[in-house]
Symmetry: C2
Subunit: 371 residues, 2 copies
């Protein structure tokens, strides 16, 4: 049986809303208002300028962003931001930036930042296998740091900060690649947010950067043009040819968020309901399904768990795949099982997965093989 | 009247083959062999590894590339390569790299290279308005240069080198963004080729880099990971999440080139026939249509011309648009008219444009207004 899009629990690139996929399909041949394939429309056209303007306005509206933020659409993923950010904000600084090492992705950001300037690892969950996140009493943020960097949601380990970290007098930089626009996030307390699109808001190939104007002004003047946020801001994300199609799809997703869903507060409620459904199942499974993260640090986006043995995990994944669920294998770095339940993954799809998991456990308990 | 895709003469992102657009449309909902939307398939899936492997093999096959070339699929466009290349091959060098300044795009590459190391401008066509290209007797290439850089086709001015430049003992680096895979190109004589996709081979958002292994080895060790060609080569273009959809479309275009078209020699013939059709029309128009480039340096990709007055140009562009042709306005840097006739633009579409141009001229000559 083929796995339909609606049961795509992939860690990313992930599921997108059905209505967005249908519009993207139409746009392959003809964008309604233009009569051309979206793949062949000039990035210098009035149409594309309007796409960028509307997307920027939608993001501002959804997040209630104060006017002094720039909204940039870049290439290169979060990985490019791991370097591009410290090139602008850390080069030549005497005081180190504070970095929180909460999992696989924050761990990727740190060595790239070190190439550009001084870094202090404020806290690391490595010795605990990144199963828990620090409390505020464990984070001694420096008042001299050029910025504090953290990853709001770690997709690999399935841990998520449910609060804003740091001090009000030091710019907060947050990699929100895997929970951007998944709910309200108090964006106005963060000076810099970056997020690649391929979890909650679009296809791989475009990255959203939100930054306060004061950070933009602080950047050095000798950067390569394509790594200089100012060039992108001045050119309204059209400094060089942007990924037109990926940006168009992100626009469609923001329209879906505002329209069909009804805004970020509602999206956040739906996402919490989905996650609660699965975590309740783990907690009531008598240790058959073993949640990886500490209860208070559980991710609403990536429900990561193990089964009693590696063999049972393989059996579970094979049976899930045969039943039409896709993308459930854990990240290659740690294995196990991961159900990624980004914005577009519906509550009914989560219910189906929960039903399958219940059934799988009951059949195992009864000593019967899983069909 | 709406302009259909087949009459899309845009300078880029440009037209793509109808059969490719139809497959891309299908893939929005379901890639046949996977049953998922192409936008939601993991970049770590076997399917995507096979896409990258087949695309790499297709490019090698089409260009008859020797085995010591790496084929990389990157983000950031040619603009990123303007910096990334000299970061790897020019930093810390005593002798300058030779750069040919043949038009708008080679002019963009030079200041970015200068940030990274010494650059000598070997020749510049600026004083001639970039209407002509240098002969070999004008190019005194240094034997000490780390490399020679040139742009094979200048899209803005419509000039194209129809030969390989430089010396065999100095690596040749060629920006082929606007004529890559438009015909045979003696790739084995070039040590480094880069080309963004959005002219002849795909949508905006992915850039092909071909480089000899000896250049890869020569790069410094302290580059940010995402700017280090070695990381991308080791990871088979999957170091960080690549633009899956854009890469998939480039694969479809290479299949079309090998299959429907029948290879690069045939593609080159078709492209020459298309360009000849338009240039013959310019030459026989008694000065009504005035080709911008010198005859021997004319581009097969971008036919750039003027009309006797700016008012006539505006009238021409409005009439062409009303007749269903799109993308004919010249680049914002120089104005005028530009017919971009990349791979996917058919001979019959060129014939239609030629017919329209003939008609426009006759009506003007007869003193009648153009309908």
């Amino acid at each position: 049986m083929k796995a339909p899009n609606r049961l795509n629990f992939s860690g990313g690139p992930g599921a997108l809303p059905e209505s967005v996929l249908l519009q993207a399909r139409e746009a392959m041949i003809e964008v309604p208002e233009i009569g051309l394939s979206v793949l062949g429309i000039s990035h210098r056209s009035d149409w594309f300028a309007a796409v960028v303007a509307e997307l920027e306005a939608n993001i501002r509206g959804l997040l209630e962003l104060p006017p002094d933020y720039h909204v940039l659409l870049l290439q290169g993923g979060a990985t490019q931001q791991f370097s591009m950010l410290p090139m602008s904000l850390l080069r030549g600084k005497a005081h180190p930036a504070d970095y929180v090492h909460s999992g696989y992705w924050s761990g990727k950001a740190i060595p790239e930042a070190r190439r550009e300037g001084p870094v202090r690892v404020l806290w690391s969950g490595e010795s605990d296998g990144f199963r828990r996140l620090p409390g505020d009493d464990e984070l001694h943020c420096s008042a001299q740091a050029p910025y504090l960097h953290y990853v709001s949601n770690e997709t690999v380990e399935g841990v998520q900060f449910h609060r804003v970290l740091g001090r009000d007098d030091v710019p907060r930089v947050c990699d929100m690649s895997s929970d951007f626009l998944s709910g309200p996030c108090a964006a106005e307390r963060l000076s810099f947010i970056y997020a690649h699109a391929q979890k909650n808001i679009g296809p791989a190939g475009v990255t959203v950067v939100l930054m306060r104007d004061e950070l933009l002004k602080a950047a050095p003047n000798d950067l390569p043009a394509f790594l200089d946020y100012r060039r992108h801001a001045e050119a309204h994300s059209n400094y060089n040819t942007p990924p037109v199609f990926a940006i168009y799809v992100v626009l469609l997703v923001t329209r879906w968020l505002s329209g069909e869903i009804g805004g970020l507060a509602r999206m956040g409620e739906i996402n919490r309901t989905k996650a609660d459904r699965l975590y309740r199942l783990l907690d009531s499974s008598d240790g058959f399904y073993r949640g990886r993260a500490e209860t208070g640090n559980r991710s609403l986006m990536n429900v990561v768990f193990n089964l009693p043995t590696a063999e049972l995990e393989r059996e579970f994944l094979a049976a899930a795949s045969a039943a039409g669920f896709s993308g459930l294998a854990g990240h290659r770095a740690i294995g196990g099982v991961r159900a990624s339940i980004y914005n577009a993954l519906s509550l009914s799809a989560v219910d189906e997965l929960a039903g399958f998991m219940d059934d799988f456990q009951r059949r195992r308990a009864a000593g019967r093989s899983v069909p």
